[in-house]
């Protein structure tokens, strides 16, 4: 056998004879009883051409949609610029390892520092780590941080939290004895502050606010909520769609303790579930910074006083006190963080704002068209990118009708409701076709 990924196959005998041993010597420590008998039952070796055929065959089994799906729920279809793809395909980046040797890894360290710096500006928060897995797990780690800080075991979350984030949160924190308490929404879809006040107490570890919330609706009472929390020494966690920050105030303005969010919206493909990019930031406060999980790149000087970058605050990680680490995270989403940095650098101050505005306009246009058809918005609050519509017919039926036209509608919420996501990839023509097919039913 000859294989392009296994250089020494044909030299094995020569190497073994140079070493003066036979192959069995190398495995003499593996008891025969447990050794694998026979070959692994895997497919036969394939050439590149055959692999590509196989992949194309699989792709053909997926439905080719006429437009990107009108579906969000935490991640949304967006246009990823060629320069972003090109730069994260530079193999010095994508085949690198965690930059534990800073002298030879200044480029990737600087790129990650730039991600942290750009994200810090976007959030208006001073300390950003260089990535968590995704929004859901980032939220879970934030809640665990809160627990480590104040030792309390109750956490308030909004009823209109992204349900997938809630599932992740429960998996991570409930085994630690942490309980989740939900606050109700008002009629407009925002958090009901009265309900919140009823639930707040000295036993609350942290409060989580999602902005905009799962239904795309802008929360209004964040200042008041943060105020309430601070009085009780409750850790405040704010989840954000970073793209919405092109138009609305960032978490730093509210002086929250921790911000989390999903970087997918900033230059990543949908990836059928991942890789995504968990954003996490904290205020300039030693207690928070020292409890923050994940890697942080910092700027320092080298032995000739030249500026240089290196991983910092590593005592938080598993190096020293392994079981006391802030988190077990090692492999993160570093390359995706670089993609975020490139994406935001490309859009720049002006492009980022324009994009936010365009998405706002298109999603509002789509919502308006649905209402003209006789459907209604589920909540009245102003929204960004996503909005929930209540139809007069079964959404299942609408969905299937759309699929007949090779259009994928929104996310089914229940019998008659669906959550639509409209971004810059959905042209007016696409929106019009979506609405007109729905109108035909």
């Amino acid at each position: 056998m000859i294989h392009p990924w296994l250089p020494n196959l044909k030299s094995k005998d020569r190497i073994l004879s140079e070493m003066g041993i036979n192959e069995e010597k190398l495995f003499s420590d593996i008891p025969h009883e447990i050794r694998l008998k026979g070959e692994l039952n895997l497919p036969k070796v394939m050439s590149e051409l055959e692999i590509k055929r196989k992949l194309n065959m699989l792709k053909e089994k997926n439905v080719k949609l006429k437009y990107p799906p009108f579906i969000g729920g935490g991640v949304c279809p967006h246009y990823v610029h060629e320069a972003v793809k090109f730069l994260i395909s530079r193999s010095e980046f994508y085949t690198a390892y965690t930059p534990y040797q800073p002298e030879i890894s200044q480029g990737i360290l600087q790129a990650l520092y730039e991600y942290q710096s750009i994200m810090a500006e976007l959030l208006e928060m001073d300390v950003v780590n260089s990535s968590m897995y995704d929004w859901g797990s980032s939220l879970a780690e934030a809640v665990l941080m809160g627990f480590r800080i104040n030792g309390r075991r109750k956490v308030i979350i909004p009823e209109l939290i992204n349900p997938n984030h809630e599932k992740v949160l429960r998996t991570w924190v409930e085994p630690r004895g942490i309980n989740l308490i939900k606050v109700k929404p008002s009629n407009d879809g925002t958090i009901d502050v009265h309900d919140l006040l009823n639930k707040v107490g000295d036993d609350i570890s942290s409060i989580y606010i999602q902005q905009p919330n799962f239904y795309g609706i802008f929360e209004k009472n964040i200042e008041e909520i943060v105020d309430i929390a601070k009085k009780k020494r409750i850790v405040t966690i704010m989840g954000v769609n970073p793209l919405a920050l092109s138009l609305i105030k960032p978490p730093g303005v509210y002086d929250v303790d921790i911000a989390v969010g999903e970087g997918q919206e900033l230059g990543l493909p949908l990836n059928f579930g991942g890789p995504y990019m968990g954003i996490m930031a904290v205020r300039w406060d030693a207690k928070l910074v020292r409890q923050m999980p994940g890697r942080i790149v910092g700027k320092t000087l080298d032995d000739k006083k030249r500026p240089g970058y290196t991983l910092i605050l590593q005592t938080r990680e598993q190096f020293a006190r392994r079981e006391k680490a802030t988190s077990n995270i090692t492999t993160n989403e570093a390359l995706m963080a670089i993609a975020n940095a490139v994406y935001l650098s490309l859009l720049g101050k002006n492009g980022f704002k324009e994009l936010g505005e365009e998405i706002y306009r298109r999603s509002h246009y789509a919502a308006k068209r649905f209402i003209e058809l006789g459907a209604s918005k589920k909540f009245e609050g102003d929204f960004f990118e996503e909005f929930a519509v209540s139809f007069r017919k079964s959404y299942e039926k609408i969905h299937n009708k759309l699929l007949e036209h090779e259009i994928h509608g929104g996310l089914r919420l229940n019998e008659m409701d669906a959550l639509f996501c409209v971004t810059e990839v959905h042209s007016k023509e696409a929106i019009d076709e979506l609405v007109s097919i729905v109108g035909e039913i």
């Binding site: 020494n8 699989l58 193999s91 930059p99 980022f352 994928h408």
Partner: protein, 496 residues
């Protein structure tokens, strides 16, 4: 390059941008009337053309080092060559939304189903979930499964045994799940001390976290006994897949008696590491543990669909897991096939032992030198440090000057002045030889000119960095925002 930070590439106010935003002119009359309490006026982002952004990051990339540039002998990290065809896999993941109707993504689900089946075969387990995005999330999933299993069966078990030669994150994962961590020390051969294990294991033992071969690269030959001890106490034997590469195709965790196994697809199946991530993981289980796997599992009836195991611990990430990378691993396995995958353990073990052979006449020391290593080897540079003052750290830095990446150092903690090296099966024997020669040259130099090594590296973009300054509350600088504030304010910005 002496490349400035992107915020300082040009002066702001140039009103540049690197891309055009598509606009529907007919919609431009839609007003954006956000109330003052919500509206943001400006985001402080760079103003650059596409050219400026591309050039900046191309230059940064040239100041980085990946497997495509040279050998990365990092122990336990399994830095293999990443075949370029892997990227072709993105056609079945990139544009698909994880919440899409399953009938529109049957091809992608089929891929997930197939790789689940292959991973079962490779590990000897009964079911695998692709939910976990990385190794440590896999560990966490594993310990959460163990916890839930004991909770549901009414066992009161709060202690997790962890071998001191286990993978680095095992203790953190166990404590994240609320377990008390009990270390099981190695015996002088570098293997689990089975007597000590027998003495330690008891009714509060929830499980034992082990990796085999262990982080010294040694195969735990008493694994059957170990499994017996743990199972007798109704404990769960957990396998950390970080080190699977040394035995792939030779022996399977399932056949050794493990109940729960996590895999790092980015290690064992050649997914690129991306400068620290993204990775991809899988968590597999046998027998009674299958019901506790995180969801979804992809199953097949007439069509492929996602299912939730009966007693599932839940979800570790928001959607299906890092499926883009799972697809890369899928292509890796297709490309090697059963013939190739069956050779991985043999060839990676050969590479490690050849390196040991090439270094046999040096002053690097080895625990149990008579035992063969598997995927990796841990040398101790203690003697050299004692005799010359040149530490494992200095040796690592000197390797950078020779165009190699450095091994993992000071890990595992049970070896003093540890140099942990994993060549992998994708490095040619010539490269391994040349790496060994570099190491020998450096060791010689340690005795001839130790001062010089203590200031290495010389050929890199920067020299040794001031870690004290990097971490001191008065100078720690985690973002340009802090740099800017420090410059603008008269007061020092101390992190307190």
């Amino acid at each position: 390059w002496d490349e400035p930070i992107i915020f300082e590439l040009n002066t702001s106010g140039t009103e540049r941008q690197g891309v055009l935003i598509p606009k529907e002119e007919e919609l431009s009359q839609i007003d954006i009337n956000l109330p003052d309490y919500l509206r943001r006026n400006e985001v402080n982002l760079p103003e650059l053309t596409e050219n400026e952004v591309v050039r900046h990051f191309v230059r940064l990339s040239q100041m980085s080092y990946g497997v495509d540039v040279g050998m990365m002998p990092l122990g336990s990290c399994t830095m293999k060559y990443n075949p370029k065809i892997e990227e072709a896999s993105q056609v079945i993941t990139e544009e698909y939304h994880p919440l899409q109707d399953e009938k529109t993504v049957q091809g992608t689900l089929e891929m997930m189903y197939e790789i689940q089946e292959w991973l079962k075969e490779v590990t000897g387990m009964d079911a695998c979930s692709l939910q976990v995005p990385a190794g440590s999330a896999g560990e966490l999933a594993g310990v959460l499964m163990i916890k839930k299993y004991h909770n549901e069966t009414g066992n009161v078990k709060d202690e997790m045994l962890v071998a001191d030669t286990a993978h680095g994150t095992n203790p953190a994962s166990a404590s994240m799940a609320g377990f008390k961590v009990i270390y099981i020390r190695s015996n002088k051969e570098g293997l689990v001390d089975t007597e000590l294990l027998k003495a330690t294991a008891g009714e509060r033992t929830a499980g034992f976290m082990l990796t085999n071969p262990n982080t010294l690269g040694l195969f735990e030959e008493n694994i059957a006994d170990i499994a017996k001890v743990i199972h007798e106490h109704n404990g769960i034997l957990y396998y950390d897949g970080a080190n699977l590469n040394g035995i792939l195709g030779i022996v399977r965790p399932g056949d050794m008696g493990f109940d729960v196994v996590h895999l790092n697809l980015h290690k064992t199946f050649g997914v690129p590491h991306g400068g620290g991530g993204p990775g991809a993981g899988a968590i597999c289980a046998k027998g009674k543990m299958v019901d506790y796997l995180p969801y979804p599992l992809i199953e097949k009836s007439k069509t492929f669909y996602a299912s939730i195991p009966k007693k599932s611990i839940g979800k570790l990430t928001s959607f299906h897991g890092n499926i883009g990378n799972v697809a890369r691993a899928y292509v890796y396995i297709l490309g090697l096939g059963k013939e190739g995958v069956s050779q991985i353990g043999k060839m990676s073990t050969l590479a490690t032992n050849y390196l040991i052979y090439a270094l046999k006449d040096t002053k690097l020391e080895l625990m149990s030198p008579e035992r063969p290593r598997k995927h990796e080897v841990v040398f101790s540079a203690k003697r050299i440090a004692d005799e010359t003052g040149v530490t494992a750290f200095d040796i690592a830095k000197a390797l950078l000057d020779d165009g190699f990446y450095a091994p993992t150092i000071y890990f595992p903690p049970i070896v003093e002045e540890a140099l942990m090296i994993e060549p992998t099966e994708t490095e040619s024997i010539e490269t391994i030889r040349s790496f060994a020669n570099s190491l020998k040259r450096i060791l010689d130099e340690a005795y001839r000119n130790p001062e010089k090594l203590r200031d290495s590296p010389y050929n890199t973009a920067v020299g040794r960095l001031d870690q004290a300054r990097a971490n001191h509350p008065a100078s720690v600088t985690p973002s340009y925002r802090i740099e800017r504030k420090r410059r603008e304010s008269k007061n020092d910005l101390i992190l307190k």
